[in-house]
């Protein structure tokens, strides 16, 4: 049903510039629009790039291309499919919900907002995420992440739930070089992580009840988006997590000496 508030765009055979300009046009013409449905999306990049409308939802059917929601500040994007690399790149605010897997560098330099990925993410996800005052980026991964998760992370939170579509455990996380160069924020991974899986500057900290409180709301939100039942939700909330955080706020502080005499 199409009305003032819902607009459908068929992206079939559309070039990315055409599609994105179409979205801009829709928003320029009708500020009342609350939802844009994109159908037949096939690899078009930069969808939602730089959009600033808070009460807007973009539903994507198909597979969007790279840099989905880059620089986005406000809207919600729901993807019914997988995404290419870097969804939420340098995202400022808003939400991206992916009913599938995210590509490499999911949440690159994300500085605010939330990303929920039902399945897995690729290499270097959550890299260089950072926080500032009320801007606290959160990346929740339902399945598993590949190597270099949270590399150079400077703030925010990454949560890895390690479950399959039915909510069953996926087994031990194999990713390596987790949190290389991390100097802010925290990574929570359901299950055990060995020391050798960590990158330089990352450290395993005790997972406390305070941490559990911190992640609880995001688990609930995750379960509600992906229709996971109460049992699974309770299991996720009450599981044991490994908390990974920086060794120090200044990991490279002692690397340099002044060229003074």
């Amino acid at each position: 049903m199409e009305n003032d508030e819902v607009v459908v765009i068929d992206a079939k055979d559309m070039n990315y510039r055409e599609l994105n300009e179409k979205i801009h046009e829709v928003l320029d013409k009708n500020p009342k629009v609350k939802k844009i449905l994109l159908k037949n999306v096939l690899g078009q990049r930069y969808i939602g790039n730089g959009l600033q409308k808070k009460d807007l939802t973009i539903e994507i059917y198909g597979v969007p291309g790279g840099d989905l929601g880059m620089f986005m500040s406000g809207p919600t994007i729901i993807v019914y499919g997988n995404t290419e690399h870097a969804p939420g790149n340098t995202m400022d605010d808003g939400k991206i919900i992916i009913h599938g897997s995210g590509g490499d560098v999911t949440g690159h330099s994300m500085r605010g907002g939330k990303i929920f990925v039902r399945d897995d993410v690729g290499y270097r996800s959550g890299i260089h995420m950072k926080e500032y005052k009320d801007k606290f980026p959160v990346l929740v991964i339902g399945g598993r992440a590949k190597d270099f998760l949270g590399e150079y992370m400077a703030g925010g939170m990454i949560l890895v739930l390690n479950i399959d579509k039915e909510g069953k455990d996926l087994g031990k996380i194999k990713g390596r070089m987790i949190g290389t160069g991390i100097h802010g924020g925290s990574i929570y991974i359901r299950g055990e992580i060995e020391e050798f899986q960590l990158g330089v500057a990352a450290d395993i900290k005790e997972f406390t009840e305070k941490d559990r409180e911190k992640i609880k709301g995001y688990i609930e939100e995750f379960c509600s988006y992906f229709n996971l039942n109460e049992d699974i939700r309770e299991k996720l909330i009450n599981s044991e997590y490994t908390k990974i955080a920086p060794v120090s706020k200044r990991p490279f502080g002692k690397l340099y000496t002044h060229d003074l005499r």
């Binding site: 801009h24 100097h183 706020k249 060229d259």
Partner: protein, 510 residues
């Protein structure tokens, strides 16, 4: 505490007959060289960096700073500098950090190139009475222009009028081919940024924001600021991108090719944390690569995503350090939808770089401009993309030569700082700049008067612009466009054949 394991580099002397013990030197020196004890100023020369603040500020001209000639045993290989570095590193086990540009004695090719002037047959032009066109447009130019003919009725007659059909990409309009390079807020003080912003606005040109985001105080000048996107993505959001006149992706920097940036946590003050959008006191690390760029295709994707974010209304530049393979890299950039390639030579300055990088990595800008210009011509794309050269541009002759070698415009960094008071002491990385330029300490920042600084920078740009006009007139050219890549106007003096070939110029006498 400044290490003193090596002898003091400078000798600081006070003429005791002239000194009236006012204590000005004690106040002015942020390094702690002076201390007042009863009726005497005590000197700690090992802390001195020859920034000359005390010399200039002493009301009685009583202070002299000179090179301290320590008696090291002479050795052509094991110079004093080499030995001092070893002593410093053996003491700490750390990477030596340094500021400003390459401090080694490599040949300065600009100084081995001379310019042409007209004599009788092709007369020179008098720029005092003839218009000289220095206006430069930086950005993408169309491959060709297409027109359509539209019939219009004028005075009852139907006339066919030509109308431009080709869509022209947004360009930056420069009234002089001199811009100010990207130096971040954080490395530089807010007053320094404000002074430069006022100056570029007055001169009809642009300055770079650096990778530190944009302070609110600079918003009124944003239409003269090129915002930078570096790997740390500090302060980058859609407002920042749309506010500036253009966007520059920083891949590399001449003073430290191949490595990232690192603003130590102690320099991230409340204000700096605000523009960078990171917590106060947190390290600001820009990793060596952009983690969404691992190929030219990825770079093209970032260029386009920045264009998408600004709805294709802002030109996007890509800055790289001048390295061995610079021509091929620049060619890749030229085909990536970028509007300009910025090449930063190994003389480029910096707030902080490992000394080993500053002094040993990269190539001279002169060679890089020539190589890039040549390659882009060969590929048939030179006319579509602009080249901006930076890194060690010291005077108007350097600007002129850079353009004749193939650049569209230049960035100046150190020169603009020197105009504001910088003495190239090379200690920017300590954040204690006595001139209020490379510091965040409020009492030091206040020493730089914004209006005066702006006046000096604007004067410098205007003076060079006048000189460029004179040089153009002498060369019998009346537009900077005709100088670009006009290497026949250059001759080498004392250069070997390989050097001449790399520069694409003839030797004097030919």
């Amino acid at each position: 505490m400044i290490p003193s394991a090596v002898p003091p580099k400078y000798k600081v002397e006070i003429d005791r007959d002239r000194c009236m013990l006012c204590g000005r030197c004690v106040v002015e020196c942020s390094w702690g060289v002076y201390r007042k004890e009863k009726d005497r100023i005590v000197i700690y020369p090992n802390r001195c960096g020859a920034c000359q603040r005390c010399v200039v500020m002493c009301p009685r001209d009583a202070i002299t700073v000179r090179r301290n000639i320590t008696c090291w045993r002479d050795h052509p290989l094991w110079t004093a500098e080499v030995r001092e570095d070893i002593i410093n590193q053996s003491k700490t086990g750390c990477v030596l950090l340094s500021g400003m540009g390459n401090a080694k004695e490599y040949p300065i090719y600009f100084d081995r190139i001379v310019l042409d002037a007209c004599q009788v047959t092709n007369p020179s032009i008098d720029p005092l009475r003839e218009p000289m066109e220095l206006r430069t447009y930086i950005g993408k130019k169309p491959k060709k222009l297409e027109f359509e003919f539209v019939e219009e009725e004028i005075d009852g007659k139907k006339i066919k009028k030509a109308k431009l059909k080709t869509k022209i990409a947004p360009n930056l309009k420069l009234e002089t081919p001199i811009m100010i390079a990207h130096m971040s807020y954080g490395a530089l003080s807010l007053n320094a940024h404000l002074a430069m912003a006022k100056a570029v606005k007055e001169c009809g040109t642009y300055m770079g924001s650096g990778e530190g985001g944009l302070h609110r105080a600079l918003y009124p000048y944003a239409d003269h600021i090129i915002t930078q996107v570096a790997s740390g993505r500090f302060g980058v959001n859609v407002d920042y991108l749309t506010r500036g006149a253009a966007i520059e992706i920083k891949i590399g920097q001449g003073s430290k090719p191949g490595i990232g940036g690192h603003l130590p946590g102690e320099k991230v003050t409340a204000e700096v944390s605000m523009t960078r959008m990171i917590p106060e006191g947190s390290d600001a690390i820009s990793p060596a690569p952009h983690h969404d760029i691992y190929s030219i295709e990825d770079l093209a994707q970032l260029v386009r995503s920045l264009k998408e974010a600004t709805r294709w209304k802002k030109p996007v530049f890509v800055k790289i350090a001048a390295v061995h393979n610079v021509a091929a890299i620049a060619n890749g950039i030229a085909t990536s939808d970028a509007d300009a390639v910025v090449i930063d030579g190994f003389r480029g300055g910096t707030g902080a770089a490992p000394k080993v990088f500053r002094d040993h990595v990269g190539i001279p800008i002169e060679m890089a401009i020539a190589a890039v210009d040549e390659r882009l011509r060969e590929e048939g794309v030179r006319n579509e993309v602009s080249i901006i050269a930076s890194g060690g541009i010291r005077n108007s002759a350097d600007v002129f030569k850079a353009i004749a070698l193939g650049a569209d415009a230049v960035y100046i960094g150190t020169a603009a700082m020197v105009a504001m008071g910088c003495r190239v002491c090379g200690r920017c990385y300590t954040g204690q700049c006595t001139w209020g330029i490379a510091t965040q300490r409020p009492e030091l920042v206040n020493r730089l008067d914004v209006e005066e600084g702006a006046r000096r920078v604007a004067n410098l740009i205007k003076a060079w612009t006048l000189e460029i006009k004179e040089l153009l007139g002498a060369a019998g050219i009346n537009a900077i466009e005709s100088l670009r890549g006009n290497r026949d106007r250059l001759r080498g003096v004392g250069l070997n054949e390989v050097e001449l070939k790399a520069l694409g110029i003839k030797h004097a006498g030919f």
